[in-house]
Structure formats: structure tokens, C-alpha cells
């Protein structure tokens, strides 16, 4: 029954792609038909996922598709149901947002049909990845997802930079997919021969070394797709250049599919995790979280900044998963459950607020035609409602109570603080340090989003387009509002979320988190009430209470006076203008100086002296370029090595037909020799 919802979600997504084919004749096909079908897909995905997650039941089926001897195994269990809810929620928001947003592309050079078609395939691919229950179906769906998103990244291919980003994206996706395929191969090699269904892989008997190989391949493959450091460089290139609702899908949802794959592979298929794998995951996660936010802080392009911040959040999710592995591997499954739930919760939250922020960025960019923070400003007066929604996203992503980002990071902290339970002293001292890294990350992300919101929405407009920006239409606001409301609700009701998520650890580890909601829905007590408790509803109530008292006290005074407006303090030099404001670059300058070795900073200041008075500076030219070390350390040497190898192999291409025939001849001889 539940699977029927999943099928209909996939089919509706595919149908929306097909309907969109008519979009270039009549845009209504895309704007009305296609997005309505996407809405259907989103809602059915949520229903299907929720039935499985809330009841904790598993549905399986086999479809006569694929290879003759290998039918497609499909399965919907709480884990895939949970991720299906994530996809469904974001797709529903996009279905509302899309019709207004694609108007911008209506008169563009690219056919709308391509956008609609591949959006449908992309979403269908992601849904299929979740319900795939054998390696073959999984890889087919995975490739469907990767290739269709490649087309979407390359959608605006008139810019050379976009083509390059798309190529890099495809390359990385394929390398990652290859690693995943090899990982499945390792599992299948240890299991029943020729059986690639997940059930068979699950029962494969792996030695520790082969298990580590499989885990390493999975971490590499899924980690690459998730944009973990040091393989992250493709992500901030590829995600921002797609249309904004696609960026939201890629950053908010597709990265979660990679997380799903990682959880499915290591917790479910490999099964008995080793604690050392957890340490590796934890360290890579911490590095991604810290470096991701530090790189994000230096960006001036809004969407690029959001993409870098996705690396940070994925880092936090992998920190949670790493902690879960450490605890499970050293015989504390109950604590592992806590860390796993924290990671899943953060995955859900990140999907909500990152999609919200990308949609908000899309709204701003579509109205102001300006993606550069240095050109924005003052949008709070031009786009008041989008501003409020974007602010909710900013607060959530900065992990401030009582919003959702805080709830999941709080759980991650709680999991990390259980380190004294471990017997290994080294782990006991390393895990709190990673918790401090998480604290640094959270604080830096608050700084980062103060910068984003402050520079883009507050102050004065820095360019003409921005000064004349208008509020977006109702559908676009509704799409964002849906996500914003979810951000607030997920923050205020963490106990409900945590109890709903309980089915997943029940499925994977056989135990849940019994005490989390033991003291009623008001109190979130992950381990026990004495250990730690947090009551988000009472926090909201308390802030509201303080606000109400203040309002009542101030009210009498307020009714008497009228407001006076004055000029802001300008040091007595006369009117301030927009160019005197702090910019995005100047905001992040202190952090750039403190963490200088993290980036490849190329800063040039040319001063031209005045001709008459040589001591007076007539003009200053300031150039700043901030690069990512991973390019010079990892990608470029790798690219050079590949080119060199290609040149070596290229020598066998002589151009003479007889040589080529000789190759075939010797290959034939070799093969014949081998088979005898």
C-alpha cells in the first residue's frame, strides 16, 4: 500500500517531465501541468514515507524490470521513508515556487522543455534510489539522478564557466559512482554468488579487512557526492549555476540522498561497524564542517556561499554518523542511536533551511538580477515578506534556539558529551575536541549568515537593480513559507521529531531512544532527565512572556509619544551613502586575517600617489582573490597526472591501420591462451 504511494510519486515526477515537453509551444504546460504533477509527486512521497516511518513497517516488492535474471527489488522501510519525506517536502515547496520562478527563463535562449523534463527525471531518480533494494536498481537510479542533474547544471550553457562546472560535476559524480559500484562488488563477492539484492548483501560474511575496504569505498563514493572535504571543490562550482529551485533540490535533497546511501551501505548492508571507521568519518566530518563554513564566509556570491555552507552542514551530519559508529562499534548501541538520530535530524533540518535559503536567493536574484552580495542591500524594504522568510532560514542555519538547526546540533553535542562512557582514553579526549570544532563551526556560521542577511537585506541598496526590486508573486512566497513554517515547527517540537525518527534505529540497530520523550512532549531528554533536558516550547513561551511584559510596560509610554526620525551618526561629515557601508568583503576581513592559512589569499593594493602632493594618495586599487587549497593540492596534480597518463597511452595510437589490426590480433591470441 505504502509502496503504491512511492510508485505514484515516481510516476508523477516522470509524468511532469513528459508534460513539460510541450512547454516551448505553450509555457502553461510547464507552469501549470508540470509543477502540479510535481506537487502530486511531493505529497504522495510524503504520505508514502510517513506511513512507513510512523508505523515502522517494511514493504517489499519485485518488478519485472531490468535484467532477465535480476528483477528490480524495491523496498520501502523507515529509513528510506524518512528520506522520502525530505524529498517530498522540498518538492512540494518547489511545486509552489516553480511556476513564478520559471517565468524568468521563459524568454531565455534555452528551451523550457529541457528544464521541465530533466527536473522530473531528476526527482524520479532520487525517489528510485531510496526504494531500490538491489545494487543494480540502486546504480541505475543513482546514474539517472546524476546525469539528469548534470543536464540541469549545464542548463545555462552559454557561459563557459557553467559548462566547466557541469563537466567537473559529471566527472566527480562518475568517479564517486565507480567507487560505490566497487563497494557493492566487494559486498557481493563475499555473499551468495550472482545475487545483488540488498538482502543477500546484508547477509554477506565480511572479514574486517574486506569490510574496511568496502567501507572506504562507500565513504569515498558517497562522501564525494556529499561534498566532503577534500573532494568538495566541485560542489560550490556546480550547485550555484543551476536555476535556483534546482540548486535547492541539489543542495537540500540530493546531498541527503548521498547521506542515505552512506547510512544504507555502512549501517545496514555492512552491518557490524567498526569504531575506527567512525573515527575516520568523525574527523572528515569535522574538517568538512570547519573548512566548509570558513570557505563560505569568504564568498561574495550568494548562491556560492550557500553551496559552501552545504559542505559545512554535511560535515555536521557526518560528524553525527561518525559518533554513532564509534559508539556502536565500542558496544554502546544506545548512545549510537542518539548520535544517529542527531545526524538524521540534522539532515532533515538542513534540507528545510538550505532549500528555503536557495529559494530565497532565487527570489532575490530573479527580481534584482544580481547574485553578488556586494551589489545588494536594503531589500528588507523592497521585498518585506521574502526577507522575513529568509531571516527564518538564516536563524535556523545559524543554530540559534528555538529554531530547528539548534535542536539537531544540541543533540549532536549531547552525543559527543557521552564520550566519557568510552573505555579508550584517546577517544575520550579527541571527541570533546571535535565538539569544540562543532561549536566553532556553529559560531562561524552565525557570523556568516549575519553577513549574508546584513549585507543583502539590511542597510542601503548598493545598485540600481536592487533599489528597484519588487516582491515576488504569491506562489513563490508560499513555497518558501511552507519550508519556513517547517523550520519553526521542527525547532519547537523536537520531541515529536525524535520519537518519529525512533523507527529508523529500531530497524538498523534493534533499539530506540526510549527516554527521549519520556517526560512528555514538552521535555526533550535524550539520555535521562538528570543528564540534560531542553524544552523548546517553554523557551518560545518564555521569550513570548518576556516580550509581552515588555510590551505592556512600554505600551503606555508608546501611546503618548510620536516617533522621531533622525539622521544616523555620520561623524559630522555630511550625508552617508551606500558606498560607505560595510561590504561583504570587509565584514569577513577579521576572520580572513585570523584564519589566513586556510585559504589561498591573493591580495593586492596599488596606491597611486597624487602628482602635486606626493604624500597624498590619489587613488587606491584593491584586488582580492580567495582560492580553495584543494584545487592546487588535490585537483590540479590529479588532473596533470591523468593528462600525463593519457599522453602515455596515446602513444599506442600510431595512425597505421596495420598496427591497430595487430592490437586486435594479439588480444585475440591472449584471450585464447587465457581460456584454455
Amino acid at each position: 500500500m505504502s509502496l503504491a504511494f512511492a510508485y505514484s510519486a515516481v510516476l508523477a515526477a516522470l509524468a511532469s517531465g513528459i508534460v513539460a515537453l510541450g512547454a516551448d509551444l505553450r509555457p502553461a504546460f510547464l507552469k501549470v501541468g508540470s509543477f502540479a504533477l510535481l506537487g502530486v509527486s511531493g505529497v504522495t512521497a510524503v504520505i508514502g514515507g510517513a506511513t512507513s516511518l510512523l508505523t515502522g513497517s517494511v514493504y517489499t516488492a519485485q518488478l519485472p524490470l531490468g535484467l532477465p535474471w535480476l528483477q528490480w527489488h524495491l523496498r520501502l522501510d523507515p529509513l528510506s521513508g524518512f528520506f522520502m519525506i525530505i524529498i517530498g517536502l522540498v518538492v512540494s515547496a518547489i511545486a509552489m515556487y516553480g511556476p513564478g520562478y520559471v517565468r524568468e527563463y521563459q524568454h531565455g535562449k534555452q528551451p523550457l522543455a529541457v528544464l521541465g523534463l530533466f527536473t522530473g527525471i531528476f526527482i524520479a531518480g532520487m525517489l528510485l534510489v531510496l526504494i531500490a533494494d538491489d545494487a543494480f536498481a540502486f546504480m541505475v537510479a543513482w546514474e539517472l539522478m546524476s546525469v539528469s542533474s548534470y543536464v540541469l547544471v549545464a542548463y545555462q550553457h552559454q557561459h563557459a564557466a557553467n559548462r566547466r562546472a557541469a563537466f567537473l560535476y559529471l566527472l566527480m559524480a562518475q568517479v564517486g559512482a565507480l567507487a560505490i559500484l566497487l563497494g557493492f562488488g566487494v559486498l557481493a563477492g563475499a555473499g551468495k554468488a550472482g545475487d545483488f539484492s540488498f538482502d543477500a548483501l546484508r547477509h554477506a560474511q565480511l572479514s574486517l579487512s574486506w569490510g574496511s575496504v568496502a567501507f572506504g569505498l562507500a565513504l569515498f563514493g558517497f562522501g564525494m557526492k556529499a561534498g566532503l572535504v577534500p573532494a568538495h571543490a566541485w560542489l560550490p562550482e556546480a550547485h550555484p549555476v543551476a536555476p535556483s529551485h534546482i540548486s535547492a533540490l541539489m543542495s537540500g535533497v540530493m546531498l541527503k540522498v548521498a547521506v542515505y546511501g552512506f547510512i544504507r551501505f555502512s549501517f545496514d548492508l555492512i552491518g557490524n561497524v567498526h569504531w575506527a571507521w567512525g573515527v575516520v568519518t568523525l574527523l572528515i566530518g569535522s574538517a568538512s564542517a570547519l573548512l566548509g563554513i570558513l570557505y563560505a564566509l569568504m564568498q561574495n556570491n550568494l548562491k556560492r556561499l550557500l553551496a559552501y555552507s552545504s559542505i559545512e552542514n554535511l560535515g555536521i551530519i557526518f560528524m553525527g554518523l561518525g559518533l554513532a559508529m564509534i559508539f556502536i562499534g565500542s558496544g554502546h548501541p544506545a548512545l549510537g542511536v542518539l548520535a544517529l538520530i542527531a545526524a538524521l535530524y540534522h539532515a532533515l533540518n538542513h534540507a528545510m533551511f538550505k532549500s528555503l535559503l536557495f529559494l530565497g536567493a532565487g527570489a532575490v536574484i530573479s527580481r534584482s538580477h544580481e547574485g553578488d552580495l556586494e551589489q545588494m542591500g536594503g531589500l528588507i524594504r523592497r521585498m518585506p515578506q521574502t526577507t522575513v522568510l529568509f531571516l527564518i532560514g538564516c536563524i535556523s542555519i545559524s543554530a540559534l534556539p528555538p529554531f530547528n538547526g539548534f535542536a539537531s546540533e544540541w543533540l549532536t553535542f549531547q552525543a559527543a558529551l557521552q564520550a566519557p562512557m568510552l573505555s579508550s582514553g584517546v577517544l575520550r579526549s579527541v571527541i570533546p575536541v571535535t565538539a569544540a570544532v562543532l561549536a566553532l563551526t556553529a559560531a562561524l556560521s552565525a557570523a556568516c549568515f549575519v553577513k549574508v542577511f546584513g549585507v543583502a537585506f539590511l542597510g542601503r541598496a548598493r545598485s540600481r537593480h536592487v533599489r528597484h526590486a519588487r516582491e515576488v508573486d504569491f506562489g513563490m512566497r508560499a513555497g518558501q513559507a511552507l519550508l519556513a513554517v517547517l523550520c519553526v515547527l521542527l525547532g519547537i517540537l523536537p520531541t515529536w521529531v525524535v520519537s518519529a525518527l525512533d523507527a529508523i534505529p529500531q530497524l538498523l540497530l534493534g533499539s530506540g531512544l526510549p527516554n527521549a520523550a519520556a517526560h512528555g512532549w514538552l521535555w526533550l531528554t535524550p539520555i535521562s532527565r538528570e543528564m540534560a533536558s531542553y524544552s523548546a516550547p517553554l523557551v518560545v513561551l518564555g521569550v513570548g512572556f518576556a516580550w509581552a511584559i515588555g510590551w505592556v510596560l512600554m505600551h503606555r509610554q508608546r501611546s503618548r509619544e510620536q516617533l522621531r526620525r533622525g539622521y544616523p551618526w555620520d561623524c559630522g561629515f555630511g550625508a552617508l551613502n551606500a558606498r560607505m557601508q560595510y561590504t561583504s568583503t570587509s565584514f569577513s576581513m577579521p576572520i580572513r586575517r585570523i584564519f589566513a592559512p586556510v585559504w589561498r589569499v591573493d591580495e593586492q593594493i596599488d596606491e597611486v600617489a597624487d602628482k602635486v602632493q606626493p604624500l597624498r594618495v590619489a587613488s587606491i586599487r584593491y584586488q582580492l582573490q580567495i582560492g580553495d587549497h584543494s584545487w592546487s593540492v588535490l585537483y590540479e596534480p590529479l588532473a596533470r597526472a591523468v593528462l600525463r597518463a593519457a599522453r602515455l597511452i596515446g602513444r599506442i595510437q600510431t595512425g597505421s591501420i596495420r598496427t591497430y589490426l595487430g592490437y586486435s590480433f594479439f588480444t585475440l591470441i591472449l584471450l585464447l591462451w587465457l581460456i584454455t
Binding site: G378, I380, L391, I395, S398, A399, L400, P401, W410, Q414, L417, P420, G425, S429, A435, V437, A439, L440, A442, A443, L444, A446, A447, V450, F453, G454, V455, L458, G459, R460, E530, M531, A532, S533, Y534, S535, V539, G542, V543, A546, G550, W551, Q557, L563, R564, R565, G566, P568, W569, D570, C571, Q581, Y582, T583, F587, S588, M589, P590, I591, I594
Partner: protein
Amino acid sequence: MIAWLLALLQTLLFIAAAPLLSGWLKVAKCRLQNRSAPSLLQPYRDLAKLFGKTLVLAEQASWLFRATPYIVFGATALAAAVIPLVAVRLPTAAIADVIVLVGFFALARFFLALAAMDIGTAFGGMGASREMTVSSLAEPALLMAVFTLAMTASSTNLSTAMQYTLDSGLVLRPSFLFATLGLMMVAVAETGRVPIDNPTTHLELTMLHEAMILEYSGRHLALIEWAGQLKLMIYAVLIANIFLPWGIATTFSPDALLIGVLAITLKLLVLIMVLVLVETLLAKMRLFKVPEYLHLAFLLCLLGMLSHVILEAG
């Protein structure tokens, strides 16, 4: 029920006493520097004056600018509500643990920084940028100190942790020594005192916190100032009660509560004297010396954590 009532009373006492603590700080500082001191109640008079004044808003100011003082005050007051001041085991302490407490401060700071950027002056942006930088370095050190405590008491709940320290009696913990020192250093940075920031400065280029609230006036300014005093008191109470909880009331009998009030008053008096001594002896440091200071604070907290693992739990 009586417990909830007591919790409410304690919160009100906290909020009401905060200006007094700042008054004491000013008096002590003046005396130490051989100046004639203002009255102990001067902060109350200043607040009353500000509340009575007409509001002057910058012409650019949006709703965010006007909402911020209330959010800042609300978040800080809520933080005050969860900290055991005179008694442990109050029900409000369970609302939020110490990590949430740090979150409240972050929330207040987030909005204050946004409000500073709302006007679009260079000072606002400068203050916001510097404050966010300093706090992002201070926050890990703060949490590290708190983790040391949490790992010792195996609870992040302030009330439970204090109870644990009380129950275990006099134990010389190397970790607590380092964590206290680290927490003190962080507190100085977070409350904007010398040597990180000078709360009395009026020279624009040296301001951190003051640059952010430059455009505020009237009751908005009063609320922000009050929240600042509250924050100072919160940090002082945290340091005093986490590491030296003796005297705090464990039952709700009147004499226990009275002893609790006296004990915390005494502890705060002494703590403020230490702060005054530091402020008098040191000069404000350059902005780019601040990271070194905070690195030292972080190192202290890290050493606290390590010595807990190695020497105490070993």
C-alpha cells in the same frame, strides 16, 4: 507550585539586581583608581532616564531594528531564568541546559549584529563584524570549559552539575582550575570588558559592542544596556556557582534561601573585585591581539578537559 513561584522570584531578583552589580563594579573601580565614585544606584537612574526619553530612530531603520532590543532582552532574561542563583533544583533549570544558554547569548548577539547593519553606517557594520569574529572564537572556549564541567558531573544541566559539586565536597580538581580560568577569560571577552573592549569608550575606531548600539536611543538603548548588565551578572554567577557552589540553597526553607542570597552576594562582591583589578591593571589590546588572548583561553579550557581525562578519570 511553590517551586515555580520561587523560580519566577529568583528570575526577577536576577533581573533587578543586575544594574546593582554594574553599580558596584563602577564604585569599586573608581575607588581603586582613586577617583570619587558615583552612587551605587547610578545604573538604575541611568536606566530610568533612558526609559523616559523620546525615541529617535535613524531614517533607514526597519522593523528589525525596533524589534531587536526586545529580543535581546527577552533572550538574556530567559538565560537568567535557567541559572541557579540562590537555589538549585528549581524547575526552570530544566528548560534549558548550559548549551542552550550559550545558544541564547548567540541569539541575542545575532540580532544585535543585524540591527547594527540595518542602518547602513560603517560603524554598525564594523561593530557587527568585530563582535561576530570575537564571539566565534570565544564560543568554542566557552563550550570547552562547560564540557569539562559536564563530563565531570556527567550532566549538562546546571542545577544537577552544581548539586554534584556540592555533594562531592572539597575535591581539588585540576580540570576545574583551568576551566575556571578559561571561563573567566571568555567572560571578559563576551561581556566586552577591558582588555577586549572598553565599555566606556567613545572613540569610534576602538569600539566593538558600543559601535553596534551607536544608533540606539531611549527605551531601546535602556533595554540593551540592561541586557548587557544582565549578561555580566549571568557570567559572574556562572563562574561563582559552577566552581564554588557552596552556600547555595538546596532546600526551599527560608533560612536556606537567606543563606543562599548572602552567599551569592559575597561571591559576586569578590568576583567583581577581581574583574576591577584586571581592568585597572591592563590596557585594552589591539583587535588582532584578541585572537591570541582567546587562543590562550581555549588552550586553558582544553587543558582542563585533558587533565580531566588523564588525571581524574584515568
